[in-house]
Symmetry: C2
Amino acid sequence: MIKASIISIGNELLSGQTLDSNRAYLSKKLLGIGVLVVSGYTVSDNVDSISRSLHQSSEDADIILVTGGLGPTDDDVTRGGLAQYLGVELELREDLLEKIASYFSGRNREMSETNKVQAYLPAGTDALSNELGTAPGIAVKAGGKSIYAMPGVPSEMKAMFEDSVLGVLEALTSGQAVVVKKLKCFGTGESKIAEMLGDLMERGRNPLVNCTVNKGVITLHIISTASDKVEAERIGAEVETELRGRLGELIYGSGEQSLAEVVGKQLAARGKTIALAESCTGGLVAKLLTDVSGSSEYFRYGWVTYSNEAKTKELDVSAELIEKEGAVSEEVSKSMALGAKKISGADYAIGITGIAGPGGGGKEKPVGLVHISVAADNNIESSCFTFSHDRNFIRYLTAQTSLNMVRLALSR
Amino acid sequence: MIKASIISIGNELLSGQTLDSNRAYLSKKLLGIGVLVVSGYTVSDNVDSISRSLHQSSEDADIILVTGGLGPTDDDVTRGGLAQYLGVELELREDLLEKIASYFSGRNREMSETNKVQAYLPAGTDALSNELGTAPGIAVKAGGKSIYAMPGVPSEMKAMFEDSVLGVLEALTSGQAVVVKKLKCFGTGESKIAEMLGDLMERGRNPLVNCTVNKGVITLHIISTASDKVEAERIGAEVETELRGRLGELIYGSGEQSLAEVVGKQLAARGKTIALAESCTGGLVAKLLTDVSGSSEYFRYGWVTYSNEAKTKELDVSAELIEKEGAVSEEVSKSMALGAKKISGADYAIGITGIAGPGGGGKEKPVGLVHISVAADNNIESSCFTFSHDRNFIRYLTAQTSLNMVRLALSR
């Protein structure tokens, strides 16, 4: 496999003020075309440091991607660092100067004197066009290594990478095709999934299957390598069928799909609607559903009944029931779901009540205890969970679990 | 200033599946005690790569922090990489083996054979206790450099760093104190803030003032360096007073405070309550308010009236008004706020209606148009905005802006 190294330049990355999302983006893109990222360097806005990191990268890799340090200020010294590494001078490129000037005149803004430095490139290098900003990128081949320097602003970097770099790298790797397919799972833990998949997850296999977890959602990556794309897709599809057979309903979607998106699609396809009655999740389920554009088709009514009074007044939950069973109880979650369904006229309704913490927990009803009910036309289903970790995690897992219950109800 | 380098180990970091939040955390902590992070390395789970990165780091820095690769699987080879760098063998530490065994027995789980490797440390190094997991950390001083290897799981790493490493580093840097204070601003752009602050933001000053932006919230960092903490705090406070004078109401809080937290504190302090009537934000304002624990004290009722019918039925917004003005109009946002206030009996109520997109926009009412009303006892205030970027950003900025309007109303 062709190897790449990524150099991220900027004091803000070293001081912890900014997370390096460029590196994650580039790594994913490179993996997608079968280029293996073998090392990453984060260095300060300093000519010597940049030059040294280029020397180090060139020992690791065939392709070196650099982000950051191409702006107009004194801090932006990637041009100088690259020139030092190459052992050449910076030279003014009149064509770039004109382009930068026209960027400003096109926006009725005056070009500042400092922007001129962006028209200087190390001698013998090529400029990469920047459609979204003033900083041109730089491409050069030196000592058998391909080096690309791009801006640090993520939108500019992405546009430049996709317009000018990705295609060249794809051509370099055209002897080999890598196809990555992602399957999304919810409803069990990582170790359980690993147990169910067993041999399929062994290292060194092709397709390679690995798994990452993010807040309860488990993503399985099926990475297939072959001499061409069709073959890579074919062997990937075989493994996917096997995975789906083993995991069944635990797989809720693919790619970047969220549970809310999948539930929304199911509802829309069946012409059904949903209403929400939330207490401890405080509007989070509504937020997740309405993150999806077009959700007004199936979601019309939501209540955040954060007080007992609101539960009674808005959802007709009887005050006696709350008094007798407690606000956090299966009966109250059922009554909330039924109230929401009846008042809204929706086909499905979720009722959620629980203790998100950190306060409010007791011995019998600890922090993390939640009751979720899903009411449908002829039945109502309730489940009780005890989630752990912090308030945010408990709320998020509760919201996702409620959506998963609706998904399973809709699949039946 | 004492210099540090951070080495992050793990294939998942190089493949872009995981963002390196450990590095950002450590960088911030180090900055807080006056240690400058000068370089960062991201390397794969490979003994040679780890050993080589340690050599590189030791050229850059006095302190080397390593995260990741201390787990029990074949991929976890930080122990071996460190041994190779030090030129020593790994040796079994019986005391650590016992500790790992007792970790499992205390949880009624069987210790797997693979966990034994975690009891091996490079000869001559010290173990760092891990209160949250099985992997001990490693501390060693070699060639005048202090090296600390910690687990990659963020919670374990943080606990270990704070328990066993931070104190030692603080002692090392005790000759110099650095105090960082953060002020949070909302309601204008970064360039406007930079203009208002002018000379205060020049580089090389002490205290140094810099600014980062995240989804509309601008964070000003005041970084003060002095021979002792009291003096650093004193010069920081002087600059803070100056900043507050220039920015006035644009500053809503400090540290890690969110707008929802500040609004919650104001409401609680005045014994006031708030209700929410949301359309395009779809529960996001409720979610933000209830992210704060204890929010049940001031937040009791929320509606997500995503359809016109729900606005009429739940909030008494007249169907004729919606027909006449359109659902996205100042009048409807006012009527939603007034309805929510009246029905809930709250002291304040927010009414939000808008077009989050990507669909639903027109020439007169484009995507991003939102109307926000805040009703109080004797008055109602409305504002209209046109936000850009994508659905997520429009919704988030709308929610934050509505909270900011409540904050300003409560400050009067």
